[in-house]
Amino acid sequence: MKPSPFPTIFSITEDEIDLNTLLDKITLTSTGAAAIFTGMVRGKTSRTGKAQGIKYAPHETTYLEYEAYKPMAEEKMLQVAKEIREKWGVVEGIAIVQRIGKLYPRTPTVLIACTASHRDTGVFEAARYGIDRLKEIVPVWKKEIMPDGEEWVEGEYIPTEK
């Protein structure tokens, strides 16, 4: 199998996420479009939601503490990138970064970026798919520290295959 000429960047890091540098690394001479998603720590959550099967009310967050099963998380990031390339063959570069450690409101915690020659190639859908899959299969967890206590946030997704 010929190695892909297209860059795949991935990392679990305690460092700040640098969008400029990451975008540069996945921009080729043939690239004309990048769709980037970042998630940040919310200091205020106003929508009700569910964690550990239990509904939560609007609330405030002091900070989040992220933890990863690093070697498996890196392998699963590569799997997400592979799934993206299988679905959108036009995607050129892919960057996936998860920041871990103690992270305060307004801080970007996760990034996924996909590049392609043009914007109508599915590059937006590829980034959207990537963040959804990341949140399903990459083994990272966060503990939420609130003014009146702390709680592990647990996801909902149960994998059914490797």
Binding site: E67, Y69, E75, V138, P139, V153, I158, P159
Partner: protein, 82 residues
């Protein structure tokens, strides 16, 4: 016998009050049987084991999967990164 290393993350780590455990198990032990062995050693995990995810050598694993030699096992709740 098969010597394996078990890692605990997030709520599993908090409840087990440890981040890893070395175990010797019989060859041909599967994931469901391993869960019972772990519960016997760490009863605090019993309540949460039914919705725990399990990985073998960094791949998701399921009840009927056999634990290979010297496997790196991990137990953790559904992921919540991002």
């Amino acid at each position: 016998m098969n010597k394996i290393n078990i890692l605990f993350f997030a709520t599993m780590r908090t409840r087990a009050k440890r981040s890893s455990l070395e175990l010797e198990i019989k060859s041909d032990t599967n994931v469901a049987e391993l869960k019972e062995i772990i519960t016997a050693k760490i009863p605090a995990l019993e309540a949460s084991l039914h919705h725990t995810l399990v990985s073998i050598n960094r791949e998701y694993a399921f009840d009927e999967d056999i634990i290979p030699e010297n496997a790196e096992i991990a137990l953790f709740p559904p992921v919540s990164g991002g």
